[in-house]
Every structure is written in structure tokens, then in C-alpha cells.
Amino acid sequence: MAIVDYIVIGSGCTGAMAAQTLIEKGVQVLMLDGGMTDTNYDGLIPDKDYLSIKQQEAKQYEYFIGKNFEGIPFGKVKTGEHLTPTRKFMLRKVMDWMPLISDTFSPLESLALGGLGNGWGLGCCMFSHAELKMAGLDAARMNTAYEVVAKRIGISGDKDDTAKYTAGNLSQLMPSIKMDSTGINLYQNYQRKKSSLNKDGFFMGRPSLALLTEPKNNRKAYQYKDLDFYCDQDKSAYRPAFTIEDLKHKSNFSYKGGLMVIKFEEGADSIKIECRYLNNNEPVFFECRKLLIAASCLSTARIVLRSYNAYDTRLPIISNPYSYLPSLQPYLLGRDSDKNKVGFAQLSLFYDPGFNNEYVAMSSIYSYRSLMAFHILKETPMGTKHGFEFLQYMMPAFTIAGLFHPEHGGSTKYLQLKKDPAQVTGDALGVHYMLTDGEADKIARNEQKFTQALRKLNCFVLKKMNPGQGSGIHYAGTLPFASTNEKFTLHPNGKLGNSRNIFVADGSGFTYLPAKGLTFSLMANAHNVALSTLQG
């Protein structure tokens, strides 16, 4: 078995960024990955916009509701259930290889090439100085890394009222995408009532998105086809799989998919990694001088706990509480003025009660169409016929506000790896995630504040939906940053405590999760961790 310089585990946003940094520095990298790809729907969606497909394509049911109707949620809706059929490949083999037991936490995990990045909403926010400090990150290094990552992936946005919360102050920024009527009407209302909202701590602006509005390398500018939930035809939306595909052309990069990393063992000069093939459970071993784990913090915790035989050891976990507020803008009722809607977030609304960019709650504003009427109809307390007549009238006015809250860890939020011979890995991850009464109250107050702010914008919340802990798909803090070199912590440079050459490049070290989109900061940190591995 040849020993490679570096092994990177995982091909999601963090693995891709870390690998790219290492490859650019000329070292030899082997990436080990689950590598699931879409074998059912790839290439099926024609190069047309959503309405043209609806009008012309007889086989549209295949990708809109799924060949096996997997796009129709039959039973209780769980996290990930709302993924469209063409994105469901992200979940393949997860239940088998990443078993999770919890009554209080329902996360989304992936074994796909590109990981959860395949379904990323593209929101890019730079954490403020105070947020970076609370998360355990070095502000100067992170600000440099944000620029590096932005240059690689391409970000569009605006320098508006929210620039200090988003990534609007980056030196290289493409113009924002055009809004549809949902965004335009709401933003016009904000401009009129801005002073009153600002006084209450609310600021609205265009989100920074990892979405091209100008061509970049082999990727096209956004085409407004309203198929954002189904495919990445023009590659305008950044997906980490694009980076991996590019890296595969480099002579110092190799990729092995179809693998589950089980554990590592650090020796005097090298690290031995045990994997299993996902298709037959056969073991396979690799060896490297330095190991970078970027498997996402839940999987990283599994690997680390298993490697140290630390079953039943409690590790902390942080996950942003998430809720969403289906709302109506009455002015838009019955007015279908958009040929092309936009599936990505069109506006961001930040609540900064201290006016110091420290404990900020964030809402992303979306319109609704291409996910189709039957999803909403199912939740409507009406018959399907009259219910649809109401929906058709209301659809142009439908506005979805997805709401994230900042989050600290605590003694009621932890995970443990438990032995479970029934599982293919021989264990299962147990997660306990409960908010304290004080935290729950604060979230309820924030939701109330957002409801009031939206009302000021003539946007009326119909219902508050709480899909449960873990549904925000932002996880961190399982191996918190510390300078003590203790087991189950990370040095601020990403090195795993009590190890010599094992680094963690995902969000496992973050000791605080701001409400702002996490992914951009994860990628910037991964770049920094990769740089750290090259030193010494």
C-alpha cells in the first residue's frame, strides 16, 4: 500500500475547498468519498424553462414527482422529505451507513459526491468580528479566506443595507439576480418603511449567493428557468461536485468514491484509514502522512469516536434552530405577472437588536411555484377542488420566510456513539437536542418580531412552522476549538487534539453558530485548515 501525502475525507463544500487549496499548493491528494451520484434523473430534464416543460413535456412526472413517486410525501414529513426527486440521490445509503437514533433531532446527512452542497441554498454570509470570535475563528485569517473562496466559487450580491451581514462587502461581487414580483413588492415596501424598521433593528437587502450572474470559466450566468430545485443545468449555482470534477483533471489529485470511512489509526510516521465499500461492505485500507477530515460534523464525530473506541462518550453539538413562516402579500393576490420565478432567496431580512452584528437572526425570503401546488394543497384544510381554486389565486402572493436563529451549545445538546450490532457499521449515533426554556422563549420572541416586521411590509404570516431540531441543516461544534490539545477538541488551526497529523476541516470546531448562512464560513475555514496542514 503506497502512502500518499494527504487524504481528504469527504467531497462536500469543505472537502472540495480544502482539496483545492492543497492541490494548488502542489501536494499529492487522495479524496475518499461516499460518491453517490444521480443515476435516475441525470440528463432527463430538457433545456427549457419550468412553464414550457409543464406545457409540453409528457414525461415531466418522472422528475417532478419521481419515477417511484418519491416526490409525494405519503406519511409524516421528515427532514429531507421535501427534497425534489432529482435531489434525493443525496440521501442514498445514508440510513444504512449513517444510522442515527433520536427523538429530538432530525438532521440531513449525505453520502453524495458534493455532499449536502448538492442542495445548498447558496446563501453566503461573512461572520462579523464578534461572531468569528465567539465561534473560535481568527478574524484576520477568515477575512482573507472569504476572498479566496469567493474568487473560486463566484458570488453575486449587492452593497446595500445588509452588506455588513451578508458578503456584500467582498471585493469581487457579481450583480444580484433579478427579483420576481414577490421580491420586488416586498423590497419596495421596505424602502418606504425603512426608517421605522431600522429603528427596530430590522435591515433588508439582497442576499449574497454563490450564483453566477456573469459567466465564469465553464459555468454560465443564471438563466431564470425556475428549475432551481431540480437541476444545475447551466452550472450557474455553485456545487462542490464542480470543483471535484475540475480537480480530477489535475495530476496530483485522485478520487475514490463508493467508500465509507470507518476509522483511522495514527502511527509514528503515517495514518492508516479503514474504509468499507458501500456496495459490498468489504474492507479496504489507505495510508497517508496527513489526514484532513471534512465529512461534516456528525460523520466526523462518528469517525473520531470510533477511532478512539470512545463509545458512549458525550460530545457537544450545535444546530441552528429553524422555522419558516408561510406568508401572503395581499397586493399580489391573483396577479400572475411573472413568466419566470426565482427559486433561490431573493431578499434577506436581518434582526440585529443590539445593532452590533453580534446576535443576529436571519430570514431568507422566497417565492413559491415550481415546487407545485399539491405540496401546499396537502396541508390545506379544504377539499382539493376548492382548495386549488384558492391556491391558484393566492400563489402569486405566497411568500416564504425561512428563519434561522443563532445558537450556542449546552448540556442538553449532545451526541454519543453507541454500539449496535444490528447496524452495518456496528454502531449508531444517538443525538439528544433540547433547547432550554430560555432559549425557546427567545426564539419565540424573535419569531414574533419577524412576524411584526413582515406585517409592516404588508406581508402577513399565515402560520408558523417548526420542523424540529436539525431541520436547519446547519450543524457544528462536536469537537470544539480549544488550545489545550485535549482529545475531542480541535486546535484553532484545525488539528485534532492529541494527534500529530490529523486535521478537521468541517464545522466540528465552531463553538457558536450565528444565524447567518454557515456554508461560506465553513469553506473559508476549510481553506485555512488546509493551509495549516502545509506548515511544519
Binding site: Y61, F74, G334, R335, D336, F374
Partner: protein
């Protein structure tokens, strides 16, 4: 599916939609209990009752498997170009709100009447 399609869109169901529906209802969450089978047979014999039962299930029993079947049928029709004109986004006059208010009242009354039917099954 045949009667539901006519009830919803005013058109006959096409072959593709019928065959997709037959495949979709094999899912265990949509297999009908005995009383639901009897209710379905009643609706097929008395097509006037479909609207009443549809409203009643939406209002009072949204977990009913017949309702789930209606949602499946709806999803299949929504993704067929043959019914595009029925499902496509439309612009309505401002006065349409009053039409909907009337329909809302009609829906409530239908639901109540439909609930009486459900009592027998």
C-alpha cells in the same frame, strides 16, 4: 382516478395518468381500509357525492387514505401537459376575492354535508 379527474378538471383521464395512478396507489400509505373501500364504492356509484366527501376529508379528516389518493391523483394530473390549462398560473380580477368568499362558504357547507356521509362509513 377517472371520476376524480372529471370532477377536478372537467376532462377525462388519459391513459398515462390512469396507469401512473394505479402504480402510485400500491404504496402502503394509500391502501384503503374496509370502510374506505365502501366509501369509495359509494362515491363511484353516486358521483354527486365526490365534492361533498372531498370537502369533508379536507376539513375534518386530512389523514384519510382516500384524501391521500386524491392528492396523488392531483399531483399526477398537475404534472401532465394535457391538463396544463387547468393548472397553469392565472391572473384574476380583483372581484375574484368575493367569488372565493362565496366558494369558501360553499366549501364549509359541503364539508358539513360530506361529514354526514362519512358517518355512514
Amino acid at each position: 382516478m377517472t371520476i376524480y379527474c372529471r370532477y377536478l378538471t372537467g376532462k377525462s383521464a388519459d391513459e398515462q395518468s390512469l396507469s401512473l395512478f394505479q402504480k402510485a396507489i400500491q404504496h402502503e400509505e394509500t391502501i384503503l381500509a374496509d370502510n374506505e373501500v365502501r366509501l369509495l364504492q359509494f362515491m363511484i356509484r353516486n358521483t354527486w357525492s365526490i365534492g361533498l366527501v372531498d370537502s369533508a376529508l379536507g376539513l375534518f379528516n386530512s389523514n384519510n387514505r382516500l384524501r391521500k389518493r386524491m392528492i396523488i391523483a392531483f399531483a399526477i394530473l398537475e404534472t401532465s401537459p394535457l391538463y396544463f390549462d387547468f393548472f397553469k398560473p392565472k391572473t384574476f380580477p380583483r372581484t375574484h376575492l368575493f367569488t372565493l368568499m362565496v366558494k369558501g362558504m360553499q366549501e364549509t357547507l359541503q364539508g358539513l354535508a360530506g361529514r354526514l356521509i362519512l358517518l355512514f362509513f
